[in-house]
């Protein structure tokens, strides 16, 4: 076995308690980051679901020929912001009202004439679901001669926009704070592991070990600890997620990429934390 690998593993065997302690510390620090990440991920999903309902409805003047409508539908679908445009005829509007507005069924039944206008329902692509783009598309729809009115719940879209802004700001600030705390705690833990072996480092230097030789096992060890900590943190997060999912609300878990990113984050902190502590040591001794 390679000497670096062997020396790194020896440290786990010789100081199992301290090693387990560092891995646990790293795991819980990353777990906190992970829990926050889960909240952020789920909040984002929820906002996306809500944004899914951003819809612009263009009501059409009665008697618009179906050919013009079909043509307009194609035109609208060609807008870069638009995901889909669907024609809803007067009859299907009434049928929908029957199905959805159960309380008014009697009233609807007694109608002699269908009062509901035909419409085109326009859905935007996810990244265009904000006030500015919605307004722009609405204006363009008003430009069609046979469009009577355009509705899109302006207040609601504005609120959604504000909510998204707040979520992003909070996510960034709190996420960064959690990450910094994790880095500090993990850095301290790694530093303790290095300090515990300061005597060994001094002896290694005395017998002519190069700095690189001394550094390598610590780097590998730090990276391994960070990685194990990251994996445990993912495990803990998954446990928390399962509990929340069963007892509280239906939630989403990290994507594979996000999970890998958390483990990678742990590995990097372990690596750089070790590099910093050992470096300080090699300069000082």
């Amino acid at each position: 076995m390679n000497l670096t690998v062997r020396e790194s593993l020896i440290a786990f065997r010789r100081a199992p308690l301290l090693s387990a302690l560092s891995v646990t510390t790293i795991a819980f620090s990353l777990f906190v980051v992970g829990l926050f990440g889960l909240v952020a991920v789920n909040l984002q999903h929820a906002l996306q679901d809500v944004a899914e309902r951003v819809e612009i409805v263009a009501y059409l003047l009665p008697g618009t020929p179906i050919e013009s409508i079909t043509l307009a539908e194609k035109d609208i679908e060609a807008f870069p912001e638009v995901q889909s445009a669907a024609y809803v005829s007067e009859d299907s509007a009434l049928a929908r009202a029957h199905a959805e507005l159960v309380e008014f069924r009697d009233v609807l039944q007694e109608l002699e004439r269908n009062p509901l206008p035909a419409s085109i329902e326009v859905k935007l692509k996810p990244r265009f679901r904000d006030v500015d783009h919605v307004n722009e598309v609405a204006d363009r729809l008003r430009g069609f001669g046979f469009v009577d009115d355009v509705r899109f719940g302006r207040d609601w879209v504005e609120k959604l926009d504000r909510l998204r802004g707040i979520a992003a700001a909070v996510g960034l600030v709190v996420g960064a704070a959690f990450a910094v705390v994790a880095i500090i705690i993990i850095g301290t833990t790694i530093r303790m592991a290095v300090l515990q072996r300061s005597r060994e480092i001094a002896i290694m230097r005395l017998v002519g070990a190069t700095n690189g030789f001394i550094r390598r096992p610590f780097l590998l060890q730090g990276a391994i600890k960070g990685m194990l900590g990251g994996l445990v943190a993912i495990g803990l997060s998954y446990g928390a997620y399962t509990l929340i999912n069963r007892w509280l609300i239906h939630a989403a878990f990290f994507s594979k990429e996000q999970a890998v990113a958390i483990v990678g984050f742990g590995t990097l902190i372990g690596l750089f934390g070790s590099a910093a502590s050992v470096g300080r040591h090699l300069r000082r001794v």
């Binding site: 060994e200 290694m204 005395l206 002519g208 070990a209 190069t210 700095n211 030789f213």
Partner: protein, 230 residues
């Protein structure tokens, strides 16, 4: 081999640890470095193994000039030296054998050659039977022998010993000193810092005495005298 020319060494907080020290130690010599605590013995050794930089003057050690030493040369210099301390400095969680092997491993020695070389030096210091013992299972004298074995395993040209008998009882002291003499007899230069004047008197070796950082007596240069100063 080891040459000090007008060496000054300042303490970091001011004052001088060494004042204008000059001497030359030849290949295969045995030299006592004597003087009271704080006279500068350890400082001389530290300058030799490049633990500390020289303030002024020149220190040359087996082809290296301390003033021109780059950080990455330091390990190379130390591989030519063996260093032994009063407090042994063994790794407590490794056996005698592993402690000695460690010194070979860090220098990148061929793995297959290590066990034989380790056993050879352990035999040389008389500890072949205790190769598997941990430091805490060994007496002080035995621990110092392990430390000496570790210092020897890289076949150094000079063995530096900083009060190697300072922590040992009389019997262990005699044993370790005899071992150092044997090592010297086989061609390795030995520089031994000590304030044990009995040891110094016992042997016909060169004596360099320091007092408050200055070299006050060198038996290779000065008139012989009855004993080192009190």
């Amino acid at each position: 081999m080891i040459k000090f020319t007008n060496v000054f060494k300042a303490f970091p907080k001011g004052g001088l640890a060494l004042k204008d020290v000059s001497f030359h130690i030849a290949k295969g010599e045995f030299v006592f470095l004597t003087g009271h605590s704080g006279a500068g013995k350890s400082t001389v050794l530290k300058l030799i193994y490049a633990e500390e930089p020289v303030t002024s003057g020149e220190v040359r050690v087996s082809g290296f000039n301390a003033a021109e030493l780059r950080p990455r040369d330091v390990p190379m210099l130390r591989r030519r030296l063996g260093i032994v301390f009063q407090d042994f400095r063994l790794l407590e969680d490794r056996t005698a054998e592993e402690n000695v092997a460690f010194a070979l491993e860090v220098t990148g020695a061929r793995r297959s050659s290590i066990p034989a070389r380790v056993m050879r030096v352990l035999t040389q210091v008389g500890l072949a039977a205790k190769a598997q013992a941990y430091p805490r299972e060994l007496s002080g004298g035995e621990q110092q022998r392990v430390a000496i074995a570790r210092a020897l395993v890289n076949e150094p040209t000079v063995l530096l010993a900083d009060e190697p008998t300072g922590n040992l009882d009389e019997r262990a002291t005699r044993g370790v000193f005899q071992l150092l003499r044997d090592i010297n007899a086989s061609g390795t230069a030995v520089v031994m810092a000590t304030h044990d004047l009995d040891l110094v008197r016992q042997a016909p070796y060169r004596v360099i005495e320091l007092q408050e950082g200055a070299l006050v007596y060198d038996s290779a240069v000065d008139e012989p005298r009855e004993a080192a100063s009190p």
